[in-house]
């Protein structure tokens, strides 16, 4: 399992673009072994998918993100899961978490304008039977997401040689 963790950590940090050959050297295995391990991890859904992190703010594409706090009444015999499924099937929903504390579900929405996001909340989420209340918070600027910092200066300022 430790080998798997090593490989998972590398993929989590560098994404699928890092060559299998490179991974093989890093973990001390053959490329074939690494391919087999990764295929197994994908099959078991431990590797759920691969994504690219994009800073849309510096492109011309207008994208708006919002965090919606959702308070709901869980349905008898179904709990939260069934309800969650009804929400995450919308493609506008980028992330969905069941939370402890003042509200139940945290919905991360993405839309092309604030109006579009607000309308989605008003027309799709708020009217659902189990929903008690919604609170919408728009994201103004992303500094860091999934461990990646969006604006950084990574120049190596060490001396060229130190003993």
């Amino acid at each position: 399992m430790n080998d798997c963790v090593d490989i998972l950590k590398i993929l989590e940090k560098d994404g699928p673009m890092i060559s299998r050959d490179k991974i093989a050297h890093m973990v001390g295995k053959s490329e074939e072994e690494v391919n087999a391990i990764i295929a197994g991890l994908e099959k078991e859904n431990i590797i759920v998918g691969y994504k690219t992190m994009i800073n849309w703010d510096v492109t011309d594409t207008e994208l708006v993100n919002a965090l919606i706090e959702l308070r709901i009444t869980p349905q008898r015999g179904e709990g939260y899961d069934k309800f969650a499924e009804r929400i995450y099937k919308y493609p506008q929903v980028k992330s969905l978490f069941l939370m402890s504390g003042a509200y139940d579900l945290c919905v991360i929405l993405e839309g092309s304008s604030m109006k579009e996001v607000a309308l989605f909340v008003a027309q799709k989420l708020a009217p659902m039977e189990s929903v008690i209340s919604t609170a919408t918070h728009f994201v103004l600027k992303k500094y860091k997401e999934d461990g990646l910092v969006f604006y950084k200066d990574e120049k190596d300022t060490r001396q060229v040689i130190t003993l």
């Binding site: 890093m26 040689i161 130190t162 003993l163």
Partner: protein, 390 residues
């Protein structure tokens, strides 16, 4: 007109500056070189440590600390040493916080060595032991560790070099530049040679956290009977990526630590206060940060080692620190020639092995405290260079 040459202390004049002047001057002119030359981590100091330092400044903690270091820090050092290496020290008498591990090395050598005393130094090794011994009017006696022994100190080599004048043995493991480590069994064999002597040991364990064997690092004072004759030097630079904070420590028998503290008190007063507050956080709460860095180093270690093997250079597998030490003898060049040509032709900076003692001749030290991308680019260039000169 002052004649400074007449004024300067003869001992100071006799010791060379660290590194190889000509090569280092050449490196300084090459702004665009990619380097595998540094002896420090590429990671930033973990944020919680930096934050603890900042907080101490905000709170106005800008005064001298007790000479031997903040009591809380000394206590945490003892907790850490017990937790990690199963060695117990008394925080009030057996710990001294210093300006980097280097100060602790200098202090211990100066506290022990008298005119003519011999200091045994396994080589290749870090550059400060020999000049420190010389300045203390001692005699540095190198012991050449060999590639065929995985650059470990062999007990019979040690036995051969011991004389009536031997005062001190330096144990520099995990080793800079070779990356060699010594496991418990091998250290026990060294202890066996020492046990009926009065020889003291300076165990420089600054790279202890960066050990990649399953057994992990063994502290020399944890070996049966060795605690009473050993001062362990460690610090924050390598494990916690804190080189610029300049903070290290020594743990050992009270009379020795007391003497070292006396010297430290006159020369330094106390180690930097901000760094000491930050270091408390490092000792208490940063195991996870360290293990993530170690995992990353280990990946790079295997990667760079495979790289050198696949270009046909012999390279022993280092199990500690963040260096590989490939042998370049097959190219028929000296270490310095290799490094100068590599720098000129491919703009890659690595360190000639003989910077770490004569026995390092025929080797080069390459650090893997760099991103995989930088290592890949450097390896590609070195491979091109090796092919051209074979």
């Amino acid at each position: 007109m002052m004649n400074y040459d007449n004024i300067l202390n003869e001992k100071i004049k006799s010791i060379p500056p660290s590194g190889i002047r000509k090569f280092f001057d050449l490196v300084a002119t090459m702004d665009d070189a990619i380097s595998l030359g540094v002896g420090e981590p590429d990671f930033d100091t973990p944020w919680s440590i930096r934050e603890a330092g900042i907080y101490s400044l905000e709170k106005g903690k800008t005064f001298y600390t007790p000479n031997s270091g903040l009591p809380d820090l000394r206590r945490e050092i003892c907790n850490y040493t017990k937790r990690k290496y199963n060695v117990e020290y008394n925080p009030n008498e057996e710990v001294l916080v210093t300006v980097g591990g280097s100060e602790a090395i200098d202090l211990m050598i100066r506290c022990l060595v008298e005119e003519g005393d011999e200091v045994l130094i396994p080589e290749p090794s870090f550059v400060c032991y020999k000049p420190c011994a010389t300045l203390a009017r001692g005699v540095a006696v190198p012991i050449e560790t060999k590639e065929e022994n995985d650059f470990k100190l062999m007990p019979e080599q040690l036995r051969e070099k011991i004389t009536d004048k031997t005062k001190l043995l330096i144990l520099p493991f995990p080793n800079n530049p070779t990356g060699a480590v010594m496991n418990k069994k091998e250290l026990e064999a060294i202890a066996e040679v020492l046990k009926d002597t009065d020889i003291m040991v300076l165990s420089d364990e600054i790279y202890s956290e960066l050990t990649y064997t399953e057994e992990g690092h063994t502290c020399f004072s944890a070996i049966d009977g060795m605690r009473e004759r050993t001062v362990v030097v460690n610090g924050f630079s390598k494990a916690f990526a804190m080189t610029g904070w300049r903070l290290g420590y020594a743990t050992g028998p009270s009379p020795i630590i007391k003497a070292m503290t006396k010297l430290h008190q006159y020369a330094i007063m106390s180690a930097p206060t901000t760094s000491q507050f930050a270091a408390i956080e490092a000792m208490k709460n940063c195991d996870r940060d360290v293990s993530e860095m170690v995992r990353e180093y280990n990946n790079r270690r295997r990667y760079i080692l495979d790289g050198f093997h696949s270009m046909g250079l012999s390279c022993f597998e280092p199990m500690g620190a963040f260096y590989v030490f490939p042998c370049i003898k097959s190219l028929g060049m000296t270490s310095e020639e290799f490094c100068e040509k590599l720098l000129e032709e491919e703009k890659v900076a690595v360190v000639p092995g003989n910077a770490f003692g004569e026995s390092g001749e025929g080797f080069i030290r390459c650090s893997y405290a760099y991103s995989i991308e930088s290592i890949t680019e450097a390896l590609n260039r070195i491979e091109r260079f090796v092919k051209r000169h074979k």
